[in-house]
């Protein structure tokens, strides 16, 4: 199971390593700042990528119901996989597949990613449509696989209400965050507790009700952190066609596409920088001077 190499640097010799066993896990001992240089990308000043930002070189993985092969609004996929659970042994494996999409939902998500970041590389992992696919462990396995492959962005317009997966998902989401794999996850459409969108290490997305297809908002009252266009969205569907649909599922790939665009212009950005870029560029976030402090110091934060 190999995937193509990205133009985006994923490992840099000069970058500090924080994995256990690298000597930097709990504290910096016997080494100074000069031993841990970081080659950074400051990212776009106000969150919007500068120059051409089409998603080129960024690898996006759609974890869903599969993606229809060669849909005219999506084009060829860079990889197509399915998570399969054996009926007798319960063993779960990830295999290459040519089966496309079982219901249209994954095709819709991939189409929104493509529309937003036209030149990004799209991969699909199908976690729905096979027997046992509603059991949560198949979703878990598909997401874990995607994180292990080191995709830059993972679109997850799904969640599980099964609390027994919460801890494992939380740990996986944190691993992805530190490994620079950004998981963009849909909030549930109904007010129920589900995962992994609840976790701070993912970028969680719900739908706003505005007509602007390029509007995203920051939620000052998380856990859902961002809102994207998810009402009456025209999306690719089975049979090479399009439909209109509504839900958080469709706001999420818009934000995933935005992430791909920002990363294509600023490839060294970390997951927290990316989240900050989305925050700064959200239409409802205003950049005003900071109020005066006790010392009478007035600073203008508009450029920060």
């Amino acid at each position: 199971m190999t995937t193509t190499e990205s133009e985006r640097p994923r490992t840099e010799p000069e970058r500090p390593r924080t994995a256990p066993g690298q000597g930097l896990t709990w504290s910096l001992r016997g080494r100074g700042p000069e031993d841990v240089p970081v080659l950074a990308d400051p990212g776009p000043p106000l969150g919007r990528p500068t120059g051409p930002a089409t998603g080129r070189g960024v690898r996006v993985c759609v974890v869903d119901s599969g993606v229809e092969r060669d849909h005219p609004l999506i084009g060829p996929l860079a990889g197509s996989w399915v998570v399969v659970k054996d009926a007798e042994s319960g063993e779960i494996t990830v295999e290459p597949t040519t089966t496309g999409d079982t219901c249209g939902h994954g095709t819709a998500c991939a189409g929104i990613v493509r529309r937003t970041a036209p030149e990004c590389e799209i991969h699909s992992v199908r976690v729905l449509g096979e027997r046992f696919s509603g059991t949560g462990d198949v979703l878990m396995a598909g997401l874990r696989w995607a994180v292990e492959q080191g995709f830059d962005v993972v679109n997850l317009s799904l969640s599980t209400t099964r609390t027994r997966f919460a801890q494992e998902l939380h740990s996986l989401a944190d691993s992805a965050y530190f490994a620079r794999t950004v998981i963009v996850a849909s909030a549930h459409n109904t007010p129920v507790e589900s995962f992994p969108w609840r976790f701070a290490s993912v970028i969680s997305v719900g739908s706003h009700q505005e007509d602007d297809p390029e509007l995203h908002l920051y939620n000052p009252e998380p856990p859902v952190e961002f809102f994207g266009p998810g009402q009456n969205v025209t999306v690719p569907w089975l049979g090479g066609r399009t439909i209109r649909t509504t839900g958080n599922s469709f706001a999420t790939p818009y934000v995933a596409g935005l992430c791909a665009r920002v990363l294509s212009a600023h490839p060294r950005m970390t997951a927290f920088q990316l989240k900050n870029a989305l925050y700064l560029s959200a239409a409802n976030v205003r950049h005003t001077p900071r109020p005066s402090t006790a010392a009478g110091d007035i600073r203008d934060d508009s450029e920060n």
Partner: protein
């Protein structure tokens, strides 16, 4: 969706009990009738999940297909109902009739091609029992986030009611499965019987 045309007798024990259970049947029919009325829809259906066969089974239909759809089944992971059943999320789609692949499969089963469809999961105590579908809701009653919320809320209420009227043998089997072991011990059995007694009194009072 590629519904099969198996006759009703091939239903699983759970589904067979459903068919035999008049209050449950009446409840499900009421759910689809009310859903259809709320959304000014051409039709509405309830599918219940047969986990053993990994299939969704038409259990009640209001409007188009009412006479011949009940008892038909299709693979649980397919189509919009399949996505809703496995993801646990509601869904609204519009402009379906331009989708040839959708037309073909649905036309086989219902002889009716919707232009719009809303579907929400029937969830009770974190278990997905099935799917409530509304076909061709009136244009004013579809496609928005609010409508999606309304359908999901109604489906949730329907699932809660379904759980209450589920026949006792089925519920006991479900409880055993959930507990992962044999029958309830003395104290728990007593509590369970008390609970059932209270429910029965409550239902009689309401009824």
């Amino acid at each position: 969706m590629t519904p099969r045309t198996d006759p009703a007798p091939s239903l699983s024990p759970t589904a067979a009990a459903t068919v035999a259970d008049a209050p449950r049947r009446e409840l499900l029919q009421s759910v689809v009738d009310v859903a259809r009325a709320i959304f000014g829809a051409e039709a509405s259906s309830v599918f219940l999940l047969d986990e053993e066969a990994d299939e969704l089974v038409f259990q009640a239909v209001s409007g188009q297909g009412e006479e011949f759809l009940v008892g038909r089944r299709f693979p649980a992971g397919r189509g919009i109902a399949g996505w809703v059943a496995t993801s646990g999320e509601p869904m609204v789609v519009d402009d379906l009739s331009s989708d040839t692949s959708f037309d073909r499969s649905l036309a086989e089963s219902t002889a009716y091609v919707p232009n719009a469809l809303m579907a929400a999961p029937l969830i009770s105590e974190s278990r997905i029992l099935g799917v409530l579908e509304v076909l061709d809701p009136s244009p004013q009653a579809r496609s928005g986030v609010r409508e999606l919320d309304l359908l999901a809320m109604f489906a949730r209420q329907a699932a809660a009611a379904l759980r209450v009227v589920t026949p006792e043998p089925v519920r006991e089997a479900e409880q055993r499965a959930a507990a992962g072991a044999g029958v309830l011990d003395g104290a728990r059995r007593e509590d369970a019987l008390k609970l059932l007694g209270s429910l029965e009194r409550l239902l009689r009072g309401v009824g």
